[in-house]
C-alpha cells in the first residue's frame, strides 16, 4: 500500500518524534510513504493570520506537487498542516476567483488545480486499516489514556468532515484497537492555545492547564495527541501548566502513532519517545517488553 506523505516543518524539527513514529509504524504495517517531492511549508497560522493569499497558495503548491507526483491521497500527520491543506483545497474548490488568483501566484497554467489529491489526517488514515493494525499487535497497550484531539482535526466540520465535531471518537477507537482504554472526558476538542506557544505563553498555560486538570482528575495515565502544536504545548510548556495546577502532574503526552508503535512492539528509540520533555514513564507492569530493532 502506497500513500503520499507530507510531514510539514514541525515534523522535521520540534516534533521529530511524530515523524519518526509515523514512519516506523508505516514500515511495520508495510505502508509505503511517498514523501511529496520538494514540499514547502503550509504557511501555518501566520499565513492564515496575516496573508490570506499565501495561506492558500502555499498549501496549493504542496498539493499540486503531490498531484504531479501521481499521488491521489496525501497523509498529513500534523493537524495544523492538515487544516491548512484542507482549507486551501476547499477555498480553491469553492471559489473560482481565489483559484485564478492562486494559479497566478503559483505561475501554473489554468486547470492545474483541478482534482487535487485527497488530504488525510493520521487518524483517518489508520482508521481505514484496522485489521492490518490488529493483526500486527504484539504487546497490547494496556493503559488508560485521554485522547486529546484539539481544534483543527474536527473544525470547521463543513470542511474537515471528520468524526463527531464536539465529541470525536476515532482516536479512542484506535487506542481500543491496540488494547488501550480511554477516558470519557470533556476537553477532547478544547483549544490548547496553539500558535501562542511562543508569543503568548500565558494563554497556553491557562488553556492547557484546564485540559491537563480534567485528564488527571479522571485518572488518565497519559494524554494521546495527533497534533505537534498540542503536543508541544502540553509537553514543552508543562512547567507553565503545572504552575497553574492544583497538583503538578508528570503524565506523559504521546502521539497516537507512538501508542500504536508501542503496541506493534517498536522500540522507544524508533518511536522517538526519548525526545519528550516530560519523560514517558507509564506504570511498569504494563509497559511493553523492549524489542531490539
Amino acid at each position: 500500500m502506497r500513500v503520499g506523505y507530507y510531514p510539514g516543518c514541525s515534523l522535521t524539527g520540534t516534533s521529530r518524534e511524530f515523524d519518526e513514529s509515523v514512519r516506523s509504524v508505516a514500515r511495520a504495517l508495510e505502508i509505503d510513504l511517498a514523501e511529496v517531492p520538494e514540499w514547502n511549508c503550509c504557511g501555518s497560522s501566520p499565513a492564515h493570520m496575516i496573508d490570506t493569499t499565501m495561506s492558500i497558495a502555499l498549501p496549493a503548491n504542496v498539493l499540486l506537487k503531490a498531484k504531479r507526483a501521481g499521488l491521489a491521497e496525501v497523509l498529513t500527520p500534523c493537524a495544523a498542516c492538515y487544516s491548512r491543506l484542507l482549507m486551501g483545497k476547499h477555498e480553491i474548490e469553492t471559489k473560482p476567483a481565489t483559484r485564478a488568483q492562486v494559479e497566478r501566484v503559483l505561475g501554473c497554467p489554468p486547470g492545474s488545480l483541478d482534482e487535487l489529491p485527497k488530504v488525510l489526517n493520521v487518524i483517518e488514515f489508520l482508521a481505514q486499516i484496522p485489521e492490518t493494525i490488529a493483526a500486527k499487535v504484539t504487546s497490547k497497550f494496556e493503559h488508560t489514556v485521554a485522547c486529546y484531539y484539539g481544534c483543527l482535526l474536527v473544525r470547521p466540520p463543513k470542511v474537515t468532515r471528520f468524526d463527531r465535531t464536539e465529541d470525536p471518537v476515532e482516536m479512542d477507537k484506535l487506542v481500543a484497537l491496540v488494547g488501550g482504554k480511554t477516558i470519557d472526558w470533556s476537553f477532547k476538542t478544547e483549544c490548547c492555545g496553539a500558535s501562542f506557544s511562543i508569543s503568548r505563553t500565558s494563554v497556553v498555560g491557562r488553556l492547557s492547564s484546564k485540559i491537563m486538570q480534567d485528564a488527571t482528575r479522571r485518572h488518565a495515565e497519559a494524554i494521546v495527541v495527533s497534533c505537534p502544536m498540542c503536543h508541544s504545548n502540553l509537553d514543552l510548556r508543562r512547567r507553565e501548566i503545572n504552575r497553574r495546577m492544583e497538583k503538578p502532574t508528570l503524565i506523559p503526552v504521546l502521539f497516537i502513532t507512538q501508542v500504536i508503535g508501542l503496541a506493534l512492539g517498536l522500540s522507544e528509540k524508533r518511536l522517538g519517545l526519548k525526545r519528550h520533555f516530560v519523560p514517558v514513564k507509564l506504570p511498569a507492569k504494563t509497559l511493553p517488553a523492549q524489542v531490539v530493532s
Partner: protein, 245 residues
C-alpha cells in the same frame, strides 16, 4: 436547513400565492406531477440570489468594512444577531479587550468610529484561529475569516494595536522564514522573532534541551524549493500592489 429553495414574490393584490413548491406528491413513483412544480398564482419563483439582487444597497455601505468582509471573505456581518455564542466558547475571550461578538457588532453599525475600534483592538490578534466560534454559530457567521481580514486591514492601515507587536513580529518572522527557506527554519525564525521583539531571553532555558533532544537544528533544512516559494511571495506582492495603486 436554511432558507427555502425558492421565494415567491408576492403582490399586494395577489396574496394567494402559495409559498411552497411541492404539493401533491404521488406515492409509488419518485417523479412528481409537473403541474405541482408551478405555483398557481401570479407570483413568480425567484432564486434567493435573484431575490437578494433586487435589494438596493446604500451607497455608503459599499465602502464599509462590512461590505469588504462580504466581498472578500463572503462573511455577512448582518447575519449576526448578537447571541454571544462565539464569545461564550472562545478560548481567548478572557484575554480580549473586545469580545468576538462585539467585534461583529462594531462592524454592523458601519460607522468609521466603530470600525476603528475593531481594527485597533487587541482581540483580532488574540484570536487563535481554533474555529470553535464558527463551528457553533447558529447563523454560520465565519468569524475566523472575518478576523483574518480585519488583521490584514489593520496592518494595511497601520493601526494595529501596539500591544500586539510581538504577535505580529512572530507571524512576520515565520512568513519571512518560509519566504527565504521554503520551510520554517526554527532557529533562524526564533532569532528573527527575538530581534524583532527584543524578547532576547524568553525561553532561553528551553533552547539547550531542544538541541539535546534533536528538536532544533542550527542549520536550515534542505529541500523545500526555496526559490520557487520566494517567487510565489514576489508574485503575490506584485499582484497586491497592482490591485491597490
Amino acid at each position: 436547513m436554511g432558507q427555502p429553495d425558492t421565494v415567491t414574490q408576492m403582490h399586494d393584490t395577489a396574496p394567494d400565492a402559495p409559498r411552497v413548491r411541492c404539493f401533491a406528491v404521488k406515492k409509488g413513483t419518485n417523479r412528481r406531477p409537473i403541474g405541482a412544480y408551478f405555483s398557481q398564482s401570479e407570483g413568480r419563483t425567484l432564486t434567493p440570489e435573484k431575490y437578494m439582487s433586487c435589494h438596493h444597497e446604500s451607497p455608503s455601505a459599499r465602502h464599509s468594512l462590512a461590505a469588504r468582509l462580504k466581498e472578500v471573505g463572503e462573511v455577512d456581518v448582518a447575519d449576526c444577531y448578537q447571541c454571544g455564542k462565539c464569545t461564550a466558547g472562545c478560548p481567548a475571550a478572557e484575554e480580549m479587550d473586545v469580545a468576538p461578538s462585539q467585534i461583529l457588532r462594531l462592524l454592523q453599525t458601519e460607522s468609521p468610529k466603530h470600525e476603528k475600534r475593531a481594527l485597533e483592538s487587541m482581540s483580532i490578534w488574540l484570536c487563535i484561529g481554533c474555529e470553535t466560534c464558527v463551528t457553533r454559530c447558529p447563523q454560520e457567521v465565519d468569524l475566523p475569516r472575518a478576523m483574518d481580514i480585519l488583521r490584514q486591514e489593520s496592518l494595511a492601515r497601520n493601526v494595529a494595536n501596539r500591544a500586539a507587536d510581538d504577535i505580529v513580529a512572530f507571524h512576520k518572522a515565520f512568513l519571512h522564514s518560509i519566504e527565504r527557506s521554503g520551510r520554517v527554519f526554527e532557529f533562524g525564525m526564533i532569532g528573527d522573532y527575538k530581534l524583532r521583539t527584543g524578547h532576547l531571553f524568553q525561553d532561553l532555558g528551553a533552547a539547550p534541551s531542544m538541541f539535546l533532544k534533536g528538536k532544533m537544528s542550527l542549520l536550515p533544512h534542505g529541500g523545500g524549493s526555496k526559490r520557487e516559494v520566494g517567487r510565489m511571495f514576489a508574485r503575490a506582492r506584485a499582484a497586491k500592489k497592482e490591485s491597490q495603486p
